[in-house]
Amino acid sequence: MGQVSLVEVSKRFTLRIDGEVQEVNALDRVSFTVDDGEIVALIGPSGCGKTTALRIAMGLEAATAGSVKVDGREVTGCGYDRGMVFQHAELLPWLSALENVMFGLEMKGLRGAPLRETAMQYIELVGLKDSSNRRPHQLSGGMQQRVGIARALAIDPKVLLMDEPFGALDAQTRESMQEELLQIHGRTGKTILFVTHDLDEAVLLADRVVVMQRGIVQETIAVPLPRPRGDLGAIRGSSEFAETRYHIWRALHVAPGASH
């Protein structure tokens, strides 16, 4: 199981600008659910609160109101039922690729031979067997993010939370990473919630797309593409892809809160 629900989640910041105190509603009663094994994309312009929502789901930030539940249990902080993939991988620069994966497992309490073996297994899953002893700066951006994914997957979370995981990569690397993520999803069946600002990526990867604007959920759009989605190139040329993409594009361009 691995179902995540955000229930009426709000987040208010107090900003002090030139002595004036401003209340900012980063999130305003945001609710949506990611079902077991489902991939959901959170999309929206920068500042719409999508990353804040993800961080609250992870437990890195606390909501001002509302709650996050994983399989019905309320989230009160970070936990091994959720694995986070960060925007710029955020590997520890003094550790090798393998050691970075081991780090998460060690925190979970693994020791000795199983620790190393499990980490290696996930390094192999993301195709980095031959680079396992390289340090992050000796890896390309795409390889770094693979390690980031392996590190999050290794602790065997119910849910993978990804914050613009491919946003910092070049277009070609991004495409191969997207395919790889779909393959990993096919093999592991993990529930995935990911943040993106890339329309194509949202449609290609997700079962449903949650469109956010100024801290509210504007619309939730189902992607009518079957799984497995083997050939992403062919999907890009399909009419379903174009229609869904256009649908999301429109939702991103209406006035926040307006229905249509």
């Binding site: 992870m58 437990g59 890195l60 902080g77 970070c78 936990g79 091994y80 959720r82 694995g83 986070m84 960060f86 710029h88 955020e90 520890l92 620069p93 003094w94 780090f103 998460g104 925190m107 979970k108 340090r135 700066h137 000796q138 602790i155």
Partner: protein, 258 residues
Amino acid sequence: MTKRQLPAWAITTLSVLFFLLLWEALGSLINPIFGSYPTAIAEAFWDLLRSGQLGKAMVQSLQPFLLGYVLAIIIGVPLGLVVGRFRVLEAALGIYVTAGYAMPLVALVPLLVLWLGLGFAVKAAIVLLMSVFPITINTWLGVTAVPKSLIDVGRSFVASDLTILRRIILPATLPYIMAGIRLAVGRAVVAMVIAEFFTAISGLGAIIINAANNFDTATMFVPIVVLMVMAIGLNWLIGWVERKVAPWQAEIAGRARE
């Protein structure tokens, strides 16, 4: 075509040779009371070494120096880590660290002598007090420069505060810590000489004072040069340790320069 470049050590050697020659040429023109020059200092060095005076003085000086300096690292690094990490400790202790760095220690030496006497302890204490603050401040600064995102990584794997401090903040801060330890070398050397001037006159500081009182300027320069050479050696040693414990730093930064 690649241009052949002089290695760094060759440039340094040439620079030192040039400096020594210049000093020799100009220094020998001056009355030996008001100045000295390399060959005269080398002669004095040989005399001091042969009489066993220099060796004995070095042992006397280095013992309190090393104790004070090592204690400064042992105290300064953890103190900087917790002051940098915990808001309450920063507010409560940061002010003493900042003030302590600027403390006119020379003025406090008489008081320290009252507390600790004239011997070994007071010298180690003076070295400690002079060198602990740059280490603490640098470590503290390093902690505040650790990217929040790396701490988030630790938190996302449910690491405890202590684990985050030990496994993420400490390694991320290492380059700053090593820089602080390097800066402290200079201050520790100065502290040692101050201690030897103002407490029981002994060690290398004693040679300086006695030679100066006898207007033997060449001999006076011997411990000064010895101390500077020692500081260079120590600095080199710390750099070597840094490359051992934090090799990723040099690899990331890249040392290619014009």
